[in-house]
Assembly symmetry: C2
DNA sequence: CCACGACTGTACCAATTGGTACATGCCGCA
DNA sequence: TGCGGCATGTACCAATTGGTACAGTCGTGG
């Protein structure tokens, strides 16, 4: 009779009743958010966009905040997957690897995802707790593999960390430039200049 | 009698009745926004924080959007002023100039302003019209003086543009790193590495 | 002294928000 | 067939939002 709604007694792990459906919803949510922004997200509009009522979003995620967390986490995961799946043909020079990585990263189809990245950064820098975890991994998560690559390529371990940090920052700066200006050629040229400085001429 | 409120018949220049008071308000608004973020800004909270009623903000700015525009513009202006007022002692090497610039830019007292910059970027990338003008000047406005400096320092004009764009992007990437991690020493070291690559060793 | 116009506060409005209560439908199990 | 529980929708709530109407205050010029 009473049939009380027991959606958020789930506890803090917060996973909704049907994990499959939940994952499907968060996936659709990330797509929508990558395309339309996360700043003025409202449960009703998001629901309407992905074909459920806002009631369902609350049902599966407990609250807007937790949905937010899930979106951020999934978005991060996508970015990570993207990097891990880039197939490295052996025999390429480090510069070529970097070049390919840059190409992959600036694929126009990823523009929404990249914009979302910077948008979330902005929120996280402001201390929004649901986006704050991003700040932790923002540098360190990417630094480790890059340092490893640097060392593997023969860098002095002491310098490798600095070089990795520098490379990461430069890529992000140029990515922001690209998103803001859309000047693909100009940004690519700047990237080439960087690679020349970074790996030596030719 | 009727005393109709004629605050926004001002037209699109939108300047309120008393420019002095208006400027004072927008200044206080930028301070508050640099400290507390611009994402969840509400006229009432902002008013309470800077000591006026939200009614006054509407009165002087016509609408929230126009206040937003004014905040963005003023924030940009501050950043510009900051750069123009850095006194360049003559006889410094380009690397030293860059070093000083970096020091000035990473002054902890400016952290709020820098965070605001990235926050506004995020909103602008998402196409919020009141922040969109930022995207125009985001690169070009800073590129010209940098290119001039590069050429002045003897760079081939063809490469100067690429080098300038690269330098700008790297600075921003490292700034984002600094804001996210707070690891001043690590970021400074990466910056030193960059300067070594950029201007040659020592 | 008064009238006028600029400045500011209070009260209010419709719209939208996140979240909840209740009702309904649907599917599996006995 | 009937029952119970999950999934979903509809209707609703209090709070907050940007914006407006109206009224009061105050200095200035006549």
């Amino acid at each position: 009779m009473v049939n009380k709604d027991v959606s958020h007694p789930e506890g803090q792990d917060g996973h909704g009743p049907d994990p499959g459906r939940r994952a499907q919803l968060v996936d659709a949510a990330v797509d929508h958010v990558a395309a339309h922004g996360i700043a003025d997200l409202s449960l009703r509009r998001l629901g309407a966009a992905i074909g459920v009522s806002h009631r369902m979003l609350i049902h599966y995620f407990g609250s807007k905040e937790q949905l937010f967390v899930e979106i951020v986490r999934t978005s991060e995961q996508r970015q990570r997957d993207l990097m891990s799946q880039l197939q490295l043909e052996p025999g390429l020079s480090p510069a070529d690897v970097a070049r390919r990585l840059w190409q992959q990263l600036t694929d126009p189809r990823l523009a929404g995802q990249e914009r979302l990245f910077f948008e979330i950064c902005g929120h996280a820098l402001r201390g929004r707790p649901e986006a704050a975890p991003v700040l932790e991994g923002l540098v360190t998560d990417w630094l480790e593999p890059l340092v490893a690559a640097e060392v593997g390529a023969g860098s002095d371990p002491a310098v490798a960390r600095n070089r990795a940090r520098l490379g990461l920052a430069t890529v992000r700066g140029l990515l922001l430039d690209l998103l803001a200006t859309g000047d693909r050629a100009g940004v690519d040229a700047a990237m080439e200049e960087f690679l020349r400085l970074y790996y030596g001429p030719k």
